[in-house]
Amino acid sequence: MSLYYVQKLLYQLNRDPTIRKRFDADLDELLGEYSLTDEERAAIVEGDIGLLYVMGVNGQILMHYAALIGQEWDEYIAAMKQGVADHGAVRGGLYTLLEDRTR
C-alpha cells in the first residue's frame, strides 16, 4: 500500500490545473511519477471512488476528486457504500478508527 502517494496525486490533481491537464493528456507519464501499486493505479485510472475510499483515501480529498470527475453527490455516496460492500472495511487512514454507523 502506498496510500500516501495515492492521496498526494489526488490532492495535486484537485488543486493544480497543470496536473489536471497532464492527467487528461498523458496519464501514464503522470502516474509514473508516483509510487503506486497496480491496484492503486487501476483505481485511479478507472475513477473507482469505492475502492479508493476502502484503500483509505481521506474523504476530503476523495470528495473533491469525485466532483472533479463529474460524479453527482448521490452517486458519490453510493460509490463509497458499494466500495465497502465489494471490498470490505476501510484498510488504512483515519477512517479505520470510525465506528461503522451503517450497521
Binding site: Q7, Y11, N14, R15, M63, A67, M80, L94, R101
Partner: protein, 273 residues
C-alpha cells in the same frame, strides 16, 4: 485598533452546492441568520476579516502539514472546487499582507505558527465568505488549523492560539473581525455523510456560547471521533474563537441539523470585551 467582532459559522459545501435539495423553510432560516451575522459584522466596521478555518487539503498536505498557518498575501483565490459543484464562482479575494506580517510577527513571540504567501481557498473559507462578504470587498486573512490529518494540535493549544491571536489583534491600529468556521458533529465525505449528533452539538454549543474553557478543552479526540465523527475535530476552530473572546459569553443565532448539508448548521456571535 483591536478585535471588534467575533463569530462562528458552518462551512459545508452542501450549504451552497446542494441548496436546492434542502427543505426551503429551514434552509432559508439558516441563510437569514448567516445574513444577520453579515449585518452585525458590517456594523462593527472592520478593516479586515480573519477567518479561522479547517481546510480540506487545498493547500496543505501530509508532506509538510502545519498545525497552524496564517496567510501572508495581498490576494488569494478560490474556490479550488468545481464551480458548479460548489455553486460559487472562482474569484480573487483581497488580503492585507502588511497587517498579516504584523500579526504573524507578534504571534511568533508567543506561539509557533507557519505562514503562506500563496493560498487557494476551498469551500471551508469560500462558503462563509459567500454569505459574509458576498462582494469580496473586505480584505481577508486566512488562518488554518489542521483538523483533517492527525496528529492534530490539542484543544488546549487551539484555545491558547485564540488568546494569542486576540493579543496580536489588539496590538494593531486596524479594526479586525474574526470568524471561525468548522463542524460541529459530522461525518463528511464518508458513507455516513448526513449523520449529525444533535444532542452532542447542543451540549458543545452550550459550553462554547458560555465560553467555559475547562469543559471545552476536556474532549478527548477518541470521544470526539466516537460521538461527533472525524468532522468533530473541527471544533478546534471554535475553540480558537473562544480563546480570542475568553471570559465573555456569546449569542447563538441559529442551530439546526440539515442532513443534506451534512452538518449541524450553526451561526453564533461571540462578545468582544
Amino acid at each position: 485598533m483591536s478585535l471588534v467582532f467575533a463569530g462562528v459559522c458552518s462551512h459545508a459545501p452542501g450549504i451552497t452546492g446542494r441548496a436546492k435539495r434542502a427543505d426551503p423553510e429551514i434552509r432559508d432560516a439558516f441563510y437569514a441568520k448567516l445574513d444577520e451575522l453579515r449585518v452585525r459584522l458590517e456594523a462593527a466596521k472592520p478593516d479586515v476579516l480573519v477567518v479561522v478555518a479547517a481546510e480540506h487539503f487545498a493547500n496543505f498536505f501530509m508532506n509538510n502539514m502545519p498545525a497552524y498557518c496564517m496567510g501572508l498575501a495581498d490576494e488569494y483565490e478560490g474556490p479550488i472546487e468545481d464551480e458548479d459543484w460548489l455553486a460559487i464562482r472562482r474569484t480573487a479575494v483581497p488580503g492585507n499582507v502588511e497587517l498579516s506580517r504584523r500579526i504573524i510577527t507578534y504571534m511568533l513571540g508567543e506561539i509557533d505558527l507557519s505562514y503562506a504567501e500563496e493560498w487557494k481557498f476551498d469551500h471551508g473559507i469560500m462558503v462563509p465568505l459567500n454569505f459574509l462578504t458576498p462582494r469580496y470587498n473586505l480584505p481577508v486573512i486566512p488562518v488554518n488549523v489542521n483538523c483533517q490529518g492527525p496528529p492534530l494540535t490539542t484543544l488546549e493549544r487551539a484555545y491558547e492560539f485564540g488568546r494569542v491571536l486576540r493579543r496580536a489583534c489588539d496590538a494593531q491600529p486596524e479594526r479586525i473581525a474574526l470568524v471561525g468556521t468548522g463542524g460541529i458533529s459530522h461525518w463528511p465525505a464518508t458513507p455516513d455523510s448526513g449523520t449529525i449528533n444533535e444532542a452532542w452539538d447542543r451540549d458543545f454549543l452550550d459550553k462554547f456560547i458560555n465560553n467555559r474553557r475547562a469543559e471545552l478543552v476536556a474532549y478527548s479526540d477518541e470521544e470526539t471521533l466516537r460521538d461527533a465523527g472525524q468532522g468533530g475535530f473541527e471544533i478546534r476552530t471554535f475553540l480558537t474563537v473562544a480563546g480570542a473572546t475568553e471570559g465573555a459569553p456569546g449569542e447563538l443565532l441559529f442551530y439546526a441539523p440539515i442532513p443534506i448539508f451534512a452538518v449541524g448548521c450553526t451561526v453564533a456571535e461571540m462578545t468582544v470585551q
